[in-house]
Symmetry: C2
Subunit: 353 residues, 2 copies
């Protein structure tokens, strides 16, 4: 039967692509929220410089460390990884270019703004499911300070942030994906971090949605239409209803964007309340931490998947989830030239099998 | 037998992925070089604004038009294209985000600097060969003025450019890729632009090479090691010698980078002189046009492939070629912070079949 092209934009895999392990690293603030103690490595420096002398280099150091942790946990070496799919938020994705350089792994650079974690899991699992590679890694990062410098104001300027703005997560996570054959053959060498089989069974490639939002701080509302499209398309393409998923995770809509998502999906008679979680609202305590609408950034959904969701799946909390990282497509030039802020979201179906 | 993962970093397809058509558009200067008259559409405005009021929007207009031309030439509609793989040089790849928006095609955003044309053909053909899609489009662009603003000095500043610097091509090209089934089934609807079957039969995913170049004007030398790695790896992975290719095209090494490439390959006893062409040296007349080392940018290799190489293949000039777009991984921040300029190059095997 083979892999199947489903409906508008989805792919169902004949065999699951196994997530054999995942390593993550975060800044200090991320370890002061609800997931404190869940991360593999936490910055020991209050400025989250990770031993570097610039924020961009600090973000590259995050990626470098996330690869090292993922390899360490799975007992693999860089040469065992055939392709690396990675991206980040910085212009020309320099956090990735300089972060992955030393590992010498054939590299596919991606840009999907904060949806990049989803995009990298889609491209990585597609490559493995097609037999193009036995073992690949998907990797993303973001850093609060490098993102502020890239998209908004210098930190020293002390600009006010509206309450619907989100806070860019400082963090990076890598995901080691393997074919069934490789995951069995290499069982002795490659330790399965999760002590149970968790696999990607299908994906839904997102499309760009532009609802005319012009306020680059209001990213939740800018991305909600794209998340709604991807969730709705995923359900149609796979012939499922929301009930077929134990949980649906968006990337970084925050509290404002999540409400917009519910409204948009209700217009299509889809109700995800009760089973929807937003990674941006999982990683921080919105009451106690000064993050306004929640966390955001490529690193947000990545570290929440790595440090929280996959672990809970391994413990049996959820059996089948839909993971939908969300991205806002803008840069400072497009914003200054008065362009809208369109969004995109990619969907990844993850199951314990 | 199926598709095959070959050697270190290559994939050989069981059946060719057919390039059914390609549309391209360029600025005025590109149409004053050796390929004058070969392009589908040329700017009618000496500033290459394409009817827009900013350079970034002009570059998006290029992508929009390249999609329209590709669809028109193949007799297809946007809804017939399952996935779009696209990228460009601008920060957060905004030329693509805003260029492709109106077509509503599920979208995979890529960043590989000037290697992105190769990356998009790799990802697009991989998706088709795996059966994930019948029809996809690969698309890239660059614009001289938006690139100067993004990477170097404002044009008004009138900065001097060293003789080894290249000139960013203003242009965009789309490539419509189809499976054998789709290309046969849709033969009536989808016109084959080339009146002969030209297909992608394999790819080699590049890896980042850093030889310590710090001068961001000297991109030819920064990218030559990556091109050498990809060509050498392609030959090893496919069990071929340079003789098995009728021609090998690099993206934008220019005259300086091409010499560096020959030297590096000669260390591995690979001689490509005589059959090597650089797209950056094909598109401009280096004697008569003031472009110094040659053309560069994501649009350079894309429009040369679209307007020149594929047409010559259709005419029987070459039967099997290796197409290797080359990218320099930097941005203005990494340059200002004293980082090196690493390179990457992706290889695409194209044959008439």
């Amino acid at each position: 039967m083979g892999n199947q092209a489903l409906g508008k934009s989805s792919i169902g895999y004949e065999k699951p692509v196994f997530i054999m392990g995942s390593g993550n690293i975060v800044g200090q603030m991320e370890n002061e929220g609800p997931l404190a103690g869940c991360f593999d490595k936490v910055s020991d420096d209050k400025n989250d410089m990770f031993g570097e002398d610039s924020w961009e280099k600090a973000e590259s150091a995050l990626q470098k460390e996330a690869i090292a942790l993922t390899l360490e946990k799975t007992g693999l070496k860089a040469k065992d990884v055939r392709f690396l799919f990675a991206g980040d938020l910085l212009g020309q994705t320099i956090a990735s270019s300089f972060g992955v350089l030393d590992y010498n792994i054939p590299f596919v650079g991606l840009y999907g703004a904060c949806s990049t974690c989803g995009e990298s899991l889609c491209m990585g699992s597609m490559a493995v499911a097609a037999g193009y590679a036995d073992t690949v890694m998907s990797l993303t990062s973001s850093h609060f300070a490098s993102a502020q410098k890239e998209f908004r104001y210098p930190l020293e300027y002390g600009g006010q942030r509206p309450l619907y703005a989100s806070w860019t997560v400082t963090g990076s996570a890598g995901f080691l994906l393997q074919s069934e054959e490789a995951s069995s053959n290499m069982q002795k060498a490659a330790k399965n971090t999760f002590r149970c089989k968790i696999g990607i069974t299908g994906v839904t490639i997102g499309k760009i949605e532009d609802f005319g939002i012009k306020d680059s701080f209001n990213m939740g509302c800018a991305m909600a239409p794209a998340a709604a499209w991807t969730i709705s398309t995923n359900l149609k393409d796979f012939g499922r209803t929301a009930k077929d998923y134990d949980a649906i995770f968006t990337g970084d809509l925050g509290n404002v964007g999540s409400e917009a998502l519910y409204t948009l999906l209700e217009e299509e008679n889809i109700d995800i309340r009760g089973k929807h979680y937003d990674c941006g609202m999982i990683i921080y305590d919105l009451e106690k931490q000064d993050v306004h609408a929640g966390g955001s950034g490529c690193g947000c959904s990545a570290v929440v998947l790595s440090a929280h969701i996959l672990k809970k799946m391994a413990q049996g909390e959820w059996r089948r989830i839909l993971f939908v990282p969300t991205g806002a497509l803008l840069n400072k030039t497009s914003f200054n030239e008065g362009q809208n802020v369109p969004g995109i979201a990619h969907g990844v179906v993850i199951e314990t099998v």
